[in-house]
Each structure stands twice: as C-alpha cells, then as structure tokens.
C-alpha cells in the first residue's frame, strides 16, 4: 500500500492550514506557498499517472480498515487523469490570479483555492459514496467563498442562486445515499456494485429510483438540462481565475456519473445494467442544443464562454450516454481538451474585458484595445479549439465522439444535434470576434476615462500556457488516446475494480 495515493488529497489540505498561519506573513508568502503547492500537485499527479500505467488499482485503506468497513481511496487511470487535469488548470488559474492581483481583493483567496483543490482531488480519489458527498461539500463550500471573492451585485445574486441550488443538490444526494444504504447496507462503491448483482427483485425499484436521484445530483454539478440555469450567470459574473478553475467543477459531475453509475450500474447489475444511459444521452442532446442557442444569445464574452463550457459538458454527457469503450475513450480525450481550453477562454475573456475599459466584455462597439492583434489572434485560436474546428483538439474530440456514435441507434439525432450546434457556435464566435476587434469606435469617440488598460503580459502567459494544451493534444494524440483508451477499458472492467477494492488486505507488520 503506497502512500502516494493519499498525497494529492492531503497536500492541499496541509497547504491550506499553513496558509492560514502564513496570513500574517503577507500576500507574497501566501503566493509562494500556494504556487509551490500547485506545482507539487502537478508533479504528484505525474507520478500518479505513471503509477497507474500497469492497470493496477492502488487502494489506500484510510485508518487501515479493510473495505467495505472503512473508507478507501482508489487510484486508477481515470482518477489519476482527473487529478492531473485539475492541477494543470490550477497552475494556470493561480498564475493569472497572482499576476492580476485578483487574490488581493479579499482576505483568504489562497486558502479557499487550496481547499477547493482538496475537495476536488478527494472527490476524484474516494471509493465511498458518503465520502464523495463529504468531499462534494468541501469543494462546494470552498467554491462558494471563491465565487463571491471580490465584490459586485451581480456576483452576489448569481452566488445566491448557486449556493441554493447546490444545497438542494446536497439534500437530494443524502436522500439517494440513504435509500441506497437502506436497501444495500453498504456505502462502498465496489461493495454496492457487488450487492446489486445479487439484490432481490422487489428491491430493484428502490435502487433504480435512488440511482436516478443520484443522477439528478450529478446533473446539477455537471449543469445538465434542466438543471443548468444557475451555471452561465455564476460563471460569467465571478472573477476570471475562479471561473477558469470552475471549468473542472462541471467535470466533477461527469466524473461522478462515470465512476458511481458506471460501477454500480455496470455490466454486472443485471436488469439495472446501464439503465441510466438513455437519460444521460437524451438530456445531453437537449443541453447541447440549448447551450448552442445560449452561445448565440449571449450578451457578453464571459457569458458566451460560460455557454461554450455548457456545450462541451453536453458533448461529454452524450459521450457518457453512448456507453461503449470507444465512446468513453473519445469522451475522456474531449474532457482533457475542453477543461483546459475552457479555463484559457475564461482568462482570455477577462483579458479582453480589461483591454476595453468601461465597455467591458459586452458585445457592442468599443475602443480599439491595446495589443488587439495579439489578443485577437489568440482569441481566434481559442475559438477554433473551443468550437471544434480543425486542426485543433476540439475537432479531434468531436470526430472521435461522432465516430463512436455511428454504432448507436440514435446516431442520426446525435450527429444532427452535434453538427448543427457546432455550426451555431462557430457563427456566434465569429460574430463576437468581429464585433470586438473589427467594429471599433474611432479614438475621439471614446472618453479617455473609458479606455482600457494595457495588456498584462505576465498574466497573458497563463492564457497561452493553457491554450498550448490544444496543439499538444493534437501532436501527441497517439500516446494520449492510447492512455484514454486504456482508461476507458479499465472503467468498463468494473469486475476488476470490485475485486481490487474488496480484496485489499490491511497493512500488518509483516506486509508493510
């Protein structure tokens, strides 16, 4: 039993505690600690990736209690991948927050940031449903603080909606977990999956209801139709680094569906095997279409990016709903791409907002911003990646998902919706780009006080760095898809997961 599995969870927690003490040492000390922690997390997650390369499950028994009696942390390829994406995104978001002084706008930005990472990594690594609930609460509570970081009336309003819907979600989560425990008598994901396979016929209705209730909870997190209404305004009105970090938050919902539903209601579950998949697929299609309309109707660049994130989540839901290893492989590839690019786009929207002064990111003619050629070119590259045009990674992800959809009986609907909404988003991005960068006002039409600030080159590094992931994903497409393919096969092999978790022996003096 290697302690490596537990470190991504505990490192940010320890850093958070140290940061509370470092508060007296000033912002510079906090920045150093926070940034070193995030860099450490990137290195750790690289180590996690290499530790999972042999298809081994690393099961960590907390308190040395064997499953299903104790809580376990389970590291497999999927968890390692999610932790790696989170820490890469965190580096970009934190760099941007530090270089633009966003972290000075409130007292405890760095502490909340680290606790957010603690919750995220915990949610990705836990193998226990109730523990997943607790980590959800940790990451939510940190996200409430981060979302409201800084000030603004619209931010408070959007924050209130976000908090209320997530509290309702938490209550539903408890109802679902309680019902599952009442019927199955366990909270361990692997043990639940094993018990469902032998559950008596009369209990299946309750189990199915609890499973769909869990899907609602994860749907709130992932912003699935009709539960996405909180998401665009919350993401559009918060500060840019927080919005960038939140690009992973919707993916927590996707991950939970893959992990919890994919394992509990996997191929072993008899009658309930993958019974949730048509719901995910259908709702994903509806979400995608509405997200495309939202992209078209957005009034500002940040709102538009939020709807683009929604569209990418919907594409992921379609991939999950297809329920085949090929589709999951495509979904995971698209997940890496969409998370990192969405983070870059939120930061880029903030760069545009700063460059346009009083005109902010609203879609109306504004002054010619400083360094417009550089920002405009980068925005175009980002838009190409985000909307899924060749030659960048969004295109490859979509092609993989669509080719996996060809075997599905819904393929006509899927291809129509994905292509039509893709066209709508391309047109909308082209319109907003030309509005911001071409239809500018002449210099004497703009008051000097309304002018924007010059480009913050240090902060721009974060945007470029995150955007670079897209060409990297294309150039190294072969090894990356090989990894996601192995991940997808491992996820579908839920028997091995169950056996690995339930057969891990406790640590004694002999096998230490």
């Amino acid at each position: 039993m290697s302690h490596l599995t537990a470190w991504p969870v505990f490192l940010p927690l320890i850093a958070g505690f140290i940061l509370i003490l470092a508060h007296m040492g000033g912002i510079r000390l906090q920045r150093v600690i926070s940034f070193l922690t995030v860099i450490g997390l990137v290195l750790l997650s690289m180590a996690l990736i290499s530790a999972t390369s042999s298809d081994q499950y690393q099961v960590y028994l907390l308190g040395n209690w064997t499953a299903p009696f104790g809580i376990v942390l389970v590291l497999d390829r999927l968890s390692a991948l999610m932790v790696l994406i989170t820490s890469l995104l965190a580096v970009g978001a934190l760099w941007y927050a530090m270089t633009t002084d966003t972290d000075k706008k409130g007292a405890h930005f760095h502490i909340l940031f680290q606790l957010q990472l603690f919750g995220l990594n915990g949610a990705f690594l836990t193998g226990d449903v109730f523990n997943l609930f607790v980590f959800f609460e940790v990451l939510l509570l940190a996200s409430y603080g981060l979302l409201l970081h800084g000030n603004g009336r619209l931010r408070t309003k959007a924050g209130l909606h976000y908090v209320v819907i997530n509290l309702v979600g938490s209550t539903l989560f408890l109802f679902a977990v309680g019902a599952l425990y009442g019927v199955l008598g366990t909270l361990n994901i692997a043990d639940m999956a094993a018990k469902i396979a032998v559950a008596p016929q009369e209990d299946l209705g309750v189990i199915a209801a609890a499973g769909l209730l869990l899907l609602v909870v994860f749907g709130v997190k992932a912003a699935m139709f009709p539960l996405y209404l909180w998401m665009p305004s919350a993401y559009a009105n918060t500060s840019a680094p927080v919005a960038a970090l939140f690009a992973i938050m919707t993916k927590v919902g996707i991950y939970s569906i893959i992990r919890v539903h994919g394992t509990i209601f996997g191929s072993e579950a008899g009658e309930l095997s993958y019974f949730y998949a048509p719901w995910v697929l259908g709702l994903g299609l509806v979400t995608l279409f509405l997200a495309a309309l939202g992209v078209m109707a957005a009034r500002g660049l940040r709102e538009q990016v939020a709807y683009l994130v929604l569209a990418s989540v919907a594409t992921l839901l379609i991939g999950v709903g297809l329920m085949s290893p090929a589709a999951l492989n495509a979904t995971l590839y698209y997940l890496i791409h969409s998370t990192l690019i969405a983070g870059a786009m939120f930061l880029l929207a903030d760069v545009v907002l700063r460059g346009r002064g009083a005109y902010q990111d609203r879609f109306e003619s504004g002054p010619f911003m400083p360094n417009a050629i550089l920002i405009g070119s980068v925005l175009m590259i980002g838009a190409i990646a985000m909307t899924g045009m060749p030659p960048l990674s969004g295109f490859f992800g979509k092609v993989l998902i669509l080719s996996a959809a060809l075997d599905d009986s819904w393929f006509a609907a899927i291809i129509t919706v994905v292509l039509v909404s893709g066209l709508i988003t391309i047109l909308s991005m082209a319109r907003s780009g030309s509005l911001i960068f071409y239809k500018t006002l002449s210099d004497d039409a703009v008051l000097p006080s309304d002018r924007g600030e010059p480009l913050n080159r240090m902060a721009f590094i974060a945007v470029i760095g995150l955007l670079l992931s897209s060409p990297v994903l294309v150039i190294f497409a072969q090894p990356i898809t090989a990894f996601t393919e192995a991940t997808a096969h491992q996820v579908f092999n839920s028997t091995a997961y169950i056996e690995a978790v339930l057969s891990t022996p406790m640590v004694t003096e002999a096998n230490k």
């Binding site: 509570l141 209130l160 209320v164 309702v168 109802f175 309680g178 425990y181």
Partner: protein
C-alpha cells in the same frame, strides 16, 4: 412508529420544497433547513427503526439484533454540514439584501436592473 416517522418525513419535505420555491430569501433558508431535517430523519430510518436494542454488537449478551450504528454517524455528519451551510446561506442572504436593496432571490426587479446597466455605461 413507522407511519409516524414516514408522515414526519413527508410533511417536512413537502413544506421544505414549498418554502424553497418562495421568492424571498428568508423562506428559502427556512425551506432548506426543513429539507435538511427531513433528510436527517430519513437517513436515521434507513438503519431500520428499532427499539431497545444495543447500540453496537454486544459481545457479552450475544445479541442477535442490534441497531445499526452507521446511519447515526451519517446523520451526525449531515447535521454538521447542513448547520454550517445554513449559517453561510443566512450571511449570504444578508449580504444580498444589503447589496441588492431587497430580499428577492432574483435581486433587482427588471426596470431597476436596466437602469443600473445604463448607469454603468
């Protein structure tokens, strides 16, 4: 006892849902609190309703039956989390009341929002 518990859960949930759908922040806070109470009782009942049984397995008595200790631990966690969240939500509702000028969950009414947008320009 079963029907009493189930009616209690049902009434608490129904009032909670009703209050959560109200337009003012204070009823929403109350509604979420009631929902949290409902889910606590529900979790408790999921360990099965028992009377007069030992809390955990009693080795000396060799009891065949015992009350399930796990839901009690779950309820404890859920209470703590719900308590903290409610406190946070109340503070947030007060902040919203202060910044938005009223206690409607959507903050401003439409006219005021349009006017404030013009001011920003």
């Amino acid at each position: 006892m079963e029907w009493l518990i189930s009616i209690a859960i049902g009434v608490l949930t129904a009032t909670g849902v009703y209050l959560t759908l109200r337009a003012r922040t204070f009823p929403v806070v109350l509604g979420l609190t009631l929902l949290a109470y409902a889910v606590n009782i529900f979790l408790f009942a999921m360990g099965r309703l028992t009377v007069g049984l030992p809390a955990v397995i009693d080795k000396t008595a060799q009891a065949a039956q015992y009350s399930d200790p796990l839901p009690q631990a779950l309820v404890l966690t859920a209470i703590v989390i719900a308590f903290g969240m409610t406190a946070f939500l109340i503070v947030l509702a007060l902040k919203a009341r202060g910044e938005l000028g009223n206690d409607h969950v959507d903050g401003l009414d439409v006219d005021a929002e349009n006017n404030s947008n013009k001011e920003v320009k």
